[in-house]
């Protein structure tokens, strides 16, 4: 029953994500002008496999911008935060997951690791599995939005690599997190 609800919430999230970000999707052209650093090494400047999509130099100012690093681009947002003991992707993080799913679907050579994290309470190995569940949830949503399964490796750090130190609720909530990290970053 719990899983069914979780599944429905996830599906609802996917639908909400799809419909709530059309304006961002218009930035797709800019996303397509990716910088070499976001790519696996030794790729040609133009990618023949994407039918109808060619990259070409634009003006001097915008060509070097890497959308993944551009602080004004939603793709620079990489963290999804979770409630205690939860792997439900909250509404406020759906646009982030959606944007990365879109990017991956349009950049088939791009690969990411989704790194799940937990707070420090409880068994290290069990927390590793809980972190994995968060990473899996992000991967699942990205896949439903068109990213390829092989583009996303969900892994877990459990409680081992806390971003915030200490045993306060503030630290705990900072550490209940999944991060999206592009290959080569």
């Amino acid at each position: 029953m719990k899983k069914l609800i979780a599944g429905l919430l996830l599906l609802a999230g996917v639908l909400a994500g799809c419909s709530s970000t059309p304006t961002k999707e218009q930035d797709g052209a800019a996303v397509e002008d990716r910088s070499p650093s976001a790519e696996a090494p030794a790729k040609p400047a133009t990618k023949p496999s994407d039918s109808g999509v060619t990259s070409k130099p634009l003006g001097t100012s915008s060509v070097s911008a890497n959308p993944l690093k551009d602080p004004n681009n939603i793709l620079s947002k990489r963290s999804i935060y979770f409630d205690y003991d939860s792997n439900i992707i909250k509404d406020e993080y759906k646009p982030v997951v959606t944007a990365h799913a879109k990017y991956l679907s349009q950049n088939r050579a791009a690969k990411v690791a989704v790194q799940g994290n937990t707070d420090e309470r409880g068994s290290r190995e069990y927390n590793l599995a809980l972190g994995q569940r968060r990473a899996d949830a992000v991967k699942q949503m990205m896949q439903l939005l068109g990213a390829g399964a092989a583009q996303i490796e969900p892994v877990s750090f459990g409680e081992e690599k806390p971003r915030a130190q200490g045993s306060s609720e503030t630290a705990f909530s900072e550490n209940r997190r999944a991060d999206i990290v592009y290959q080569g970053e």
Partner: protein, 432 residues
């Protein structure tokens, strides 16, 4: 109430070091004993003849081992004239007057080849008979080990259980941003760093013969299971599949490991070969978390943590697979199960509110006993004689190691003077 402190210090010596070279550490584990056994055997340990000249005296180590167990009361042997070294020199009424029920005597002789001939006898002071007598040939470097073996014989003779003083433990020390995998004697001496890394290391597990460690390292930006030889230092990734790889547990045959893999989605149990060859065999199939496997001593079954019932609980499954059976029912968070080597019970961590404590559950009666008051206790593992449980705890925000007897009466605290200590595992008995 018996309350004694044993402060022992020795600089750590490194055998070999992998990855980056760690700076020399002077970290020492110090052991503090709290509480004592229901009954303590009063025992006198007479200094061995000619041990004064040794770089490492024998009898203080024997006395410290026995005292640490909580099952012995060490009777002062000072001022006995003449000090006995042979059975016919033991003046039993004098020892009985001091309260001793057993007396240990012995000799040390330097041999022409540079080794030492070490003889000891355990005498029953009441019946005035010899309970045990052994001779050891040891190099100077083996003197501590010889002392532990003598303590093992005495412990076994007087309690009926195997002694575990000559065993080793492993644990992880976090120093700033560095992680070190240590192997030390069971009394905390002689710690060696066998692996150092800038990324976390967790879940070390001893091979049944004590020659290898399996563990999880995050050096590849994800959890990967490695097996490392303690004799050669060589190491190999044995589970490095898509996703996360963790929670290694040795099969008693030393050839297979149970691990948690996520390659097929979710955290599930698999069996792999300990040399990394072949394809993993899937052991559990469900959409819940299954992790922290641990083989029964006979290799027939595996206990593990699963949240298939809605909260993490301990389950048991046949090593060949099949339908798991739930073992824990009290409370909403029971994790990290480990069998007792005698196969009769398992230890685990149970949560009550915000407190995590070490507990044991008897397989036959299903009786649960909490052994610690709880704080932040983690990672329990039995000593090979099933009498003590080593675990990680926290004091003032710093990780320490602690041990508790399986009846909860004797408690020991190991503190390291530098760093945060966690993830202990007690090694097996080594024959020879």
């Amino acid at each position: 109430m018996n309350f004694s402190h044993l402060i022992n210090k020795l600089s750590a010596v490194f055998w070999f070091v992998l990855l980056a070279v760690p700076t020399a550490s002077h970290a020492v584990l110090t052991i503090e004993i709290i509480g004592g056994g229901a009954s303590q055997t009063p025992i006198a340990i007479a200094p061995f003849r000619a041990e004064d000249g040794l770089a490492q005296k024998i009898t203080p180590v024997v006395a410290a081992d026995l005292a640490r167990s909580g099952l012995f009361k060490i009777i002062d042997a000072g001022g006995m004239v003449p000090m006995p070294y042979e059975p016919d020199q033991v003046n039993y009424p004098q020892w009985r007057a001091r309260g001793a029920e057993a007396v240990v005597i012995g000799t040390v002789t330097l041999l022409p080849d540079g080794r030492y001939d070490i003889r000891f006898r355990l005498m029953d002071a009441v019946k005035q008979t010899q309970l045990a007598g052994f001779v050891y040939f040891a190099t100077a470097a083996q003197l501590r080990l010889t002392a532990h073996k003598i303590a093992d014989v005495i412990y076994q003779k007087l309690t009926g259980d195997a002694g575990v003083f000559a065993t080793r433990i492993t644990y992880i020390v976090k120093k700033g941003k560095r992680f070190e995998l240590h192997v030390a004697d069971a009394d905390g001496y002689g710690a060696q760093t066998v692996l150092a890394s800038n990324e976390p290391i967790i879940s070390p597990a001893w091979s049944p013969d004590g020659t290898r460690l399996a563990y999880v390292s995050f050096e590849q930006k994800k959890p990967v299971v490695y097996v490392q030889s303690l004799t050669t230092g060589g190491r190999q990734a044995v589970a490095n599949f898509w996703g996360s790889n963790s929670a290694p547990a040795w099969a008693p045959d030393g050839r297979r490991l149970a691990v948690t893999l996520t390659k097929d989605g979710g955290s599930q149990l698999y069996l792999i070969n300990a040399d990394g060859s072949g394809t993993p065999t899937r052991l559990t199939t469900n959409s819940a978390i299954d992790t922290e496997p641990n083989f029964s001593p006979d290799g027939q079954s595996i206990i593990f943590t699963s949240d298939r019932g809605g909260s993490p609980q301990i389950y048991r499954v046949a090593a060949s697979g099949g339908q798991p059976q739930r073992l824990t029912f009290e409370g909403s968070y029971n994790v990290s199960p480990r069998h007792s080597p005698d196969g009769k019970s398992f230890t685990f961590i149970q949560r009550n509110g915000n407190r995590y404590s070490v507990a044991v559950q008897d397989f036959a009666s299903r009786q649960v006993q909490a052994l610690t008051d709880g704080g932040i206790d983690e990672s329990p593992s039995f000593a090979p004689n099933s009498k003590m449980i080593l675990y990680a705890s926290e004091v003032r925000g710093r990780g320490i190691l602690a041990a508790v007897s399986s009846d909860g009466r004797v408690k020991q605290r190991f503190t390291e003077d530098a760093g945060d200590v966690r993830e202990p595992a007690w090694g097996p008995l080594i024959s020879k």
